[in-house]
Symmetry: C2
Subunit: 196 residues, 2 copies
C-alpha cells in the first residue's frame, strides 16, 4: 500500500476536504480515515478526539484568515486608513467565506460556539491586531489618547455585526452591508461629539 508515514498535516488536509464535501454534520472520523486509506484508529494516534481534530482544522483555517490582516497592521501609512482597511478586509473575508464555503463556515461557527478556547484565542488575536494599529495612531498623534487594548477591543465589538459568524444572516446585499460598515467606521473614527 502506501509507504508514506501518516502525518497530522495529512490528516488535517483530509479532514478539511471531507468537511468541505460532506459538511460538519455528515463528516465522521471513519470518512477521514477512509480518504487516507488507514483505519480510523490511526487517526486517534494523532488527535485525542474528534472534537480536537475539528478544533485543529478550525485553528489552521482561522490562521489563514488572520495572516493577510497582519500585512495591513504592519504596513506603512496613516493609522486611520489602516484601521479602515483592516476592518473592511476582516469583514470582506468572513463574508466571502460565508457565501462561497458555507460548509466550512458552519463548521467554524459550530466550534466557535461549542468550545470556547479556539474562538477566544482568535478574538484575542484580532483584538490585539486592532490594538496595535490604534497604538500606532496614538503614538503618531493621529488618534486621541487612551488604552490601545481597550480601544482595539471596542473597535472589534463595534464592528461585530459585520464579521461575527452568528450575524451572517444579516449580511444581505454586499453593497448595502459595505455602506453600513462604512457608516460605522466613520462614526468610530470621527465620533459624534463636536470638538470644542
Amino acid at each position: 500500500m502506501n509507504t508514506e508515514p501518516l502525518t497530522s498535516e495529512a490528516i488535517l488536509d483530509a479532514a478539511e476536504a471531507a468537511l468541505r464535501r460532506f459538511g460538519p454534520a455528515k463528516t465522521s472520523v471513519v470518512d477521514v480515515a477512509r480518504a487516507l486509506e488507514v483505519s480510523h484508529g490511526s487517526v486517534y494516534r494523532h488527535f485525542p478526539s474528534k472534537a480536537a481534530l475539528r478544533e485543529a482544522v478550525t485553528a489552521r483555517w482561522l490562521e489563514r484568515v488572520s495572516a493577510p490582516l497582519e500585512d495591513v497592521v504592519t504596513r506603512p501609512g496613516p493609522a486611520s486608513r489602516r484601521l479602515r482597511d483592516w476592518v473592511a478586509l476582516l469583514a470582506a473575508t468572513k463574508q466571502a467565506i460565508a457565501r462561497d464555503e458555507p460548509e466550512l463556515f458552519e463548521t467554524f461557527h459550530q466550534i466557535a460556539t461549542g468550545s470556547r478556547d479556539v474562538a477566544a484565542a482568535h478574538v484575542d488575536h484580532l483584538a490585539d491586531q486592532a490594538a496595535r494599529i490604534v497604538a500606532d495612531g496614538i503614538a503618531a498623534g493621529e488618534f486621541t489618547d487612551g488604552d490601545p487594548a481597550v480601544l482595539g477591543r471596542a473597535v472589534l465589538h463595534a464592528t461585530a455585526r459585520f464579521h461575527h459568524p452568528a450575524l451572517s444572516r444579516e449580511w444581505g446585499d454586499p453593497a448595502t452591508t459595505a455602506a453600513d460598515l462604512d457608516a460605522v467606521l466613520t462614526l468610530i473614527l470621527h465620533g459624534l461629539t463636536r470638538p470644542e
Copy 2:
C-alpha cells in the same frame, strides 16, 4: 358555556402564557385553544396560521420592549447622555429577558430569524429612535453635522453585539459586558480622530 366573544387579544394572551409555560417547541394551537375553552378551528378565524399567531405575539412583546425606550428619547437633557442611556437600557432589557425568560426570548429569536418582517419593523423602529436622539444632538450643536438616519442606524449597528439576540451567547458576566459596552459608547461619542 362562556358567553364572552373570542377576541384576538384574548388569543394573544393565552398564546403568550402557553409559550411561557411550554416553550416555543411544545406549544400547539390546540394548547392555546384549550386554555380558552374553544376549538382550535376558532383560533384560525382570527389568525391565518400558527406562524401569524406567533408573529403577532412577538410583535406585541417587542412593542413592550421599545415603549420604555421612547421615554428616554423624548425626555429632556443632553443628547449624549440620552443616547448612552438609551443604548444601555436597550442592552439591559434584552439581556435581562435572555436571562430571566429564555422561553420567550427563544421564541422571539426564532421568529426574528425565520420571518423577516416583524424583526425588520422592530429594527427600523429602534433605528428611528436612535436617529431622533442624534437629530436632537445635532440641532443643539452638541453633535457634529450628519444625516441622523444614517448615524442612528450606525449607532444601532455598532452596539449590535450587546443587544442582538443572535449574540446572546457572548453576554457572559454582566459587569464585563457593561464595561465593554461603555467602551464602545465612549468610542462612538468621542471618536478616535484627534480634533485639529
